[in-house]
């Protein structure tokens, strides 16, 4: 396997006696979308700032694109685009001027900068508003302009801190699919932090769960849910129109089935925990017994459950 593009080793950051980041180890590989997931105050932003050399770690090291962030921040910042969580632009300047300023700071000439700025504005869909002052921009527009600004330096890695904060659901979907397509087309490595599970679930290849400065688990969502809920196997819940009596007379009969481990009844809903997939057989059974089946739901574990599970453990 190739060397990881972001390599974090035993990274710590203390503010007085408070440990914001505690012995963090993390590798992110080229081209993947990594989601850093954690509640507010978990140390996500601090970790990101240390990756960019904007704050000094108390211990450990960060290598991004082969450069050490603390010792050589300018080289790192040439390769990395960073979008902070509270995004601000120079309100008295137009969107295009804001972009051109960043382009110039990245050493692009006037002509090349202008060509790239216009292309980026088109990519994020702000062509019609490019000559408006950014003071009049909405949050979603600023977010997209922020992405354009991150991309204008043609980075190898982009780091997005809470990119979905404060935009409406359809905006979030558009924004995330834009990030995903950009990453896939141009092979950009994306690291995004969020406390919003569903957004991360939509686009991330791998997820790290980050609580109180520690990385509790990492991997793709399948592996994470297997690791956590593997012992529970398959869970199928069936909802019927009739009220089920308590105790249910069919209970004993069903418990004879091979692979069925537990049955729990809540009103009109029955939940079966099985070691193998019995969904189809269960539905057939219900129909045969004359129940009107309203819905059958095979439970998949999303980040919500994973998250919940970790917090229970805390």
């Amino acid at each position: 396997m190739k060397d990881p593009i972001i390599q974090i080793k035993d990274l710590s950051k203390c503010y007085g006696s408070f440990r914001a980041v505690d012995e963090l180890n993390l590798d992110v590989h080229k081209g993947e979308i990594f989601g850093l997931l954690g509640p507010n105050g978990a140390g996500k932003t601090t970790t990101i700032l240390m990756m960019l050399g904007l704050t000094e770690p108390s211990g450990g090291s960060v290598h991004v694109c082969g450069y050490q962030s603390t010792g050589n921040p300018v080289a790192v910042k040439r390769k990395v685009g960073y979008m902070p969580d509270s995004l601000g632009f120079y309100d008295q300047m137009t969107a295009l001027d804001n972009l051109m300023y960043i382009a110039r700071l990245n050493g692009l000439g006037e002509n090349e900068g202008m060509i790239r700025a216009l292309r980026m504005i088109e990519t994020v869909g702000l062509t019609a508003d490019k000559d408006k002052k950014t003071g009049t921009y909405s949050r979603g527009m600023k977010q997209r302009l922020g992405l354009a600004e991150v991309l204008i330096k043609e980075p190898e890695v982009i780091i997005l801190d809470e990119p979905t904060l404060g935009i409406d659901p359809s905006g979030v979907r558009d924004f995330l699919s834009l990030i995903k397509s950009l990453s896939r087309e141009q092979g950009i490595t994306v690291l995004l932090s969020s406390h919003h599970l569903h957004h991360v679930q939509q686009i991330c290849d791998r997820v790290g769960i980050f609580v109180k400065g520690k990385l509790l688990a990492q991997g793709n969502i399948d592996t994470l849910s297997k690791a956590l809920f593997g012992h529970e196997g398959y869970v199928t819940s069936v909802k019927v129109a009739q009220e089920l009596p308590q105790p249910w007379p069919k209970d004993a009969e069903l418990m004879q089935w091979k692979g069925l481990e537990r049955i729990s009844i809540h009103g009109k809903e029955v939940e079966f925990t099985c070691s193998e997939d019995l969904t189809a057989a269960l539905v057939r059974f219900f129909v045969k017994e004359g129940y009107d089946v309203l819905s059958v739901h095979q439970k998949e574990y999303g980040l919500d459950e994973i998250y919940q599970k970790y917090f229970e453990a805390q």
């Binding site: 932003t45 700032l49 960019l52 904007l54 704050t55 000094e56 300018v74 080289a75 910042k77 040439r78 990395v80 685009g81 960073y82 902070p84 969580d85 509270s86 995004l87 601000g88 632009f89 120079y90 309100d91 008295q92 300047m93 001027d97 051109m100 300023y101 960043i102 110039r104 700071l105 990245n106 050493g107 692009l108 000439g109 006037e110 922020g146 600004e149 330096k153």
Partner: protein, 327 residues
């Protein structure tokens, strides 16, 4: 920006130049800079008007050893209705410096642009340096053009030839004023790093300014009266020593340094800024000093101003370089 773009049609320039250009454009477009320019230009015109009305009597006064220096007289003559320009400037220059620097860093931090700026491949010190240098370039241009306008206007109105040393003295005055603004500018940049709210840093800068212009002398007078012995019971030598001590204490205030230095620059007959003994005075002919001698007299003041500026600037580096940037 469009109109400025063609002026700087270079290929990629260094991040420092890019930031300088942007900062200067921001200052020129900002209302507060325009207001201050108007204020300074108006006081300049008012003091020039008064001095032009009195220039005939001032240059005709043969008892004044400086009467031959028409252009220096233009800057310093007044009929006491309003103070001369350099006294005005000792009040306005701090205001100019403070207004250009008080929100240099904290405004960017509060609007969230500082984090974005720092995420670009630039060195941190370039940000500070660009903020400082851009404001200073504007102030220098402003002062220099005012001085040159005055010289040109004087030439047109009077037709009197200018002495080379007059020109040097006026340039020296402009240079001193720039350093004076630089001190207040770097002080207000330090405060803008220290305080998150722009209002707090502006108020504390104005507080420091007021303290030095108004209260410092009052406080010092009170302290002297309570601590120093009664002058009636002292020998002349001791009085002289105490006087020098008091003057030295007064010179902690930057506006005192500036006033001392500009007075010596613009009035060639000023020989010493402290008390002089009869021995020193004996045999002295009241005549103007050459330029280099005047420079020698004010050199301690000048180095004091430069030292204070450099100290403030170094402090701003110290505060900013290792600071965590988050919004």
């Amino acid at each position: 920006m469009k109109s400025l773009n063609f002026l700087f049609k270079s290929s990629a320039s260094s991040p420092f130049n890019v930031m300088m250009r942007k900062e200067m454009a921001d200052h020129i477009r900002s209302w507060r800079f325009i207001v201050l320019i108007i204020l300074i230009v108006l006081t300049f015109i008012a003091s020039m008007y008064v001095s032009l009305a009195n220039i005939r009597s001032a240059t005709g006064n043969v008892n004044d050893p400086d009467h031959v220096f028409l252009y220096l007289k233009l800057l310093t003559t007044t009929d006491n209705s309003i103070p001369p320009f350099h006294v005005f400037l000792s009040f306005l220059a701090p205001l100019l410096g403070i207004s250009l620097g008080f929100d240099a860093i904290n405004a960017e931090q509060n609007s969230g642009t500082l984090t974005r700026l720092m995420a670009q491949p630039i060195y941190r010190d370039n940000v500070l340096l660009a903020k400082f240098a851009s404001a200073l370039v504007l102030v220098s241009v402003l002062f220099l053009s005012l001085a040159l306008c005055m010289i040109g206007g004087g030439l047109l109105l009077t037709g009197v030839r200018m002495e080379p040393q007059e020109f040097l003295r006026i340039l020296g005055f402009v240079g001193l004023s720039i350093f004076y603004v630089a001190f207040w500018l770097s002080l207000s940049i330090v405060l803008s790093i220290r305080f998150r709210a722009a209002a707090t840093s502006a108020l504390s800068a104005i507080g420091i300014w007021l303290f030095f212009t108004v209260f410092y002398q009052v406080v010092l007078n009170l302290a002297i009266r309570s601590f120093l012995p009664d002058p009636a019971g002292l020998s002349p030598d001791q009085i002289l020593k105490y006087n020098e001590l008091i003057l030295d204490l007064l010179r902690i205030a930057p506006n005192q340094l500036y006033m001392d230095a500009t007075t010596t620059m613009l009035m060639p007959s000023v020989r010493s800024l402290g008390p002089m003994t009869m021995d020193q005075m004996a045999g002295a002919i009241p005549s103007p000093l050459p330029f280099t001698e005047s420079v020698m007299v004010v050199w301690p003041q000048v180095s004091g101003l430069i030292g204070a500026t450099v100290a403030c600037f170094a402090l701003s580096y110290f505060l900013f370089m290792r600071r965590e940037i988050r919004s």
